[in-house]
Amino acid sequence: MAVGLFIPCYIDQFYPDVAIATLEILERHGLEVAYPASQTCCGQPMANSGCVDDARPLAVRFLELFGDYEYVVAPSGSCVSMVKHHYEDHVSGLAGFQELKDKTYELCEFMTDVLCVETIDARFPYRVGLHESCHGLRELRMGKSSEVAGPNFSKTRRLLEMVEEIELCDLQRPDECCGFGGTFAINEEAVSCLMGLDRLADHEQAGTQVITATDMSCLMHLGGLISRQKKPIHMLHIAQILAGGRLPGEHH
């Protein structure tokens, strides 16, 4: 099974460990993983800012680079939802796009839906607060959002529950937005930061030691606030926990 690995631009630059953990998880499942070197970005920063024309070449490039793989996997619900929901206008006429939409997966949903993972060889003896990143939750439907009626489920939570010794914290608001929102974090700085601080307060009351999420962008924003406030909470992308990662400073 040939998998094309898509690494979001800011993870490539700022969080290489998240990308390495993603790669390791896929390799551990015996997959043939390739990382096309000329990839850059899904185009979301431009599209979210209303500059859709500036995002178009990136959509075309994404299709060119990833169209031939059996699956495309990315450690980001947001970038995957960009491909699935917002590429339509740019590349819908091009060969292979409909297939690309169907075979592009966020890492966790790829693990639950394609690899049908039932056990995970990882141990993480901490109180973990799961931040349900909005685009994974409400665009990719990786879980039931609190607004919608029906039986509860969460693909990310299910995977975390397979990790040994992990303790998942209960939040008062299980799926409120962290306030990152791409350029929103800058355009609406005051509201964005208050939203983030409110999320942190919820995690603190729940006794969270480590916040995890499917999207590092949420954690970059929350982590920036934590670091400034010198709060004793750590940030790890879900791929890092599922790959058996440890906290910085922890001995093997």
Binding site: D54, C134, H135, R138, G179, V191, G224
Partner: protein, 461 residues
């Protein structure tokens, strides 16, 4: 441009700067959202109701002209007088002419966002008519000479201490009194006098039934009933999108409306008016004011399905923390951020950006309006209309160019991280809005791309 008085983020910044009040506001609305969730989870067919409501609205809007004609015919046959208004000015003039014909000087009005949209109160006051809003929240904002900050909870931004001061000043309640029961009783007595003295009652309309010509008004305070039962003149003001085809469709919408709005199974009063009462007149004004134009815009047409429940406001993490007045519009929040820029993107260009695209509004909407997708699309529309700040357009053009070339991206990334490591102070300044409350992300020496070519070279291509 983005520096106009309508800019949401600057007004939101002021609201957020009083973080106690912002948190109080957030909690008050989240309380309503949780009440709503509890009600919703007690209805096993909730998602089916949402789908049915969406389908009924889609059907109705597609044949709006026919249903409007049917409604006019049936309502007229019941003895009501139907008027058509193209815009707010026409609407207000029609209301005034009806009042004038009856020599009506004192008017009581129940809650109607449509009359807020038309700025009916100031218009009638200019004509020397005394208009009193009889919904408690609306009366509070009217006495404060403000506009509602929420379409269902107009005074949600005002604390009970502020209401106490206001009532002390206007209604003569005890100074410093803040007990809600006491203040409500004072308002009730004050409004009772207004009801008894009124020459005419104005109401909004929640639903108009095409097959019967009847209208339905939902309130929790019974003020619509009082306001139109005592006087001999009832003027009902409605947008043309309030139409539903059949009486039985009401069963779908009434179950959705109050649960979504306030977390009640049904509003306390659901009043049906089929024609005028004995010895009375019922006038129904059908207003367009941009609704036909919205209907013709396929990207945003579904916004016309809105039943004004306010659930998108209660759930919106931005609305809850920035307050309704930060939107500078009659209808704020997610639905207001669609409706207002669609009709005037130059004035309201900041509203679609007052959104983190979390999608909660879309999931909470009882009519399944894809609000956050519409907000996403509107951003592009605003740029195409020339209403996106030039600095943003240039920034995004350059970002797009850098990301458009893998080699340029690698070079700029490597240089950027080098600067971040070596000269962090360059980023630690007030021009960097990220840094104002957040530390910068780490700037590792090696990107993943570089790590990959060093460690997985055989697979590199």
């Amino acid at each position: 441009m983005n520096t106009t008085a309508e800019n949401h983020s600057s007004k939101a910044g002021v609201f957020v700067s009083d973080s106690d009040k912002a948190h109080w506001h957030d909690s008050a609305l989240w309380f309503v959202r949780e009440k709503r969730d509890k009600q919703v989870n007690d209805v096993p067919e909730w998602e089916k109701l949402r789908e049915a409501a969406s389908a009924i609205k889609t059907h109705t809007v597609a044949q709006l002209d026919q249903y409007l004609q049917m409604f006019e015919q049936k309502a007229t046959a019941l003895g009501a007088k139907v008027h058509w208004a193209q815009n707010a000015r026409e609407h207000n003039e029609i209301v005034h002419s009806i009042l004038k014909n009856h020599g009506a000087q004192r008017v009581v009005k129940s809650k109607s966002m449509l009359t807020e949209e038309c700025h009916l109160n100031p218009y009638l006051e200019q004509q020397g008519i005394d208009v009193v809003d009889t919904d408690l929240g609306e009366r509070i904002v009217q006495l404060r000479k403000e506009s509602p900050s929420h379409i269902v909870l107009p005074a949600i931004h005002i604390k009970k201490e502020e209401v106490g001061d206001l009532f002390h000043q206007h209604l003569g309640t005890d100074e410093g009194a803040t007990d809600p029961s006491y203040l409500t009783e004072a308002a009730r007595n004050h409004l009772r006098e207004k009801f008894l003295a009124a020459d005419a009652g104005i109401t909004g309309v929640n639903f108009a039934i095409a097959e019967t010509g009847g209208i339905v008004v939902c309130t929790n305070e019974g003020n619509a009933d009082l306001g139109v039962t005592l006087p001999r003149l009832h003027i009902a003001c409605m947008g043309i999108e309030k139409l539903i085809p059949r009486t039985k469709d009401l069963a779908v919408f009434l179950r959705l409306l109050a649960r979504s709005a306030t977390g009640q199974p049904i509003t306390t009063y659901t009043s049906h008016f089929h024609g005028p009462q004995d010895d009375s007149e019922l006038h129904i004004i059908l207003l367009d004011n941009g609704r036909t134009s919205l209907r013709d815009q396929s990207d945003y047409q579904e916004a016309l399905h809105c039943i004004r429940c306010g659930a998108c406001m209660n759930t919106c993490p931005v609305y809850r923390r920035s307050g309704g007045h930060s939107y500078g519009t009659t209808v704020p929040g997610p639905i207001g951020s669609v409706l207002n820029p669609v009709s005037d993107s130059a004035t309201h260009n900041s509203l679609p950006f007052a959104c983190s695209l979390c999608g909660s509004c879309t999931d909470v909407c009882p009519i399944k309006i894809p609000l956050h997708h519409q907000l996403f699309t509107l951003r592009d529309q605003i740029r195409r209309n020339g209403n996106l700040a030039l600095t943003k357009r240039i920034a995004m053009f350059l970002t797009g160019r850098i990301l458009g070339s893998a080699s340029l991206f690698r070079v700029v990334g490597r240089m950027g991280r080098w600067v971040m490591r070596g000269f962090p102070w360059l980023f630690h300044n007030r021009f960097n809005l990220w840094w104002k409350q957040r530390d910068m992300p780490p700037a590792p020496k090696q990107s993943f791309g570089a790590w990959y070519s060093a460690n997985r070279k055989e697979k590199h291509r």
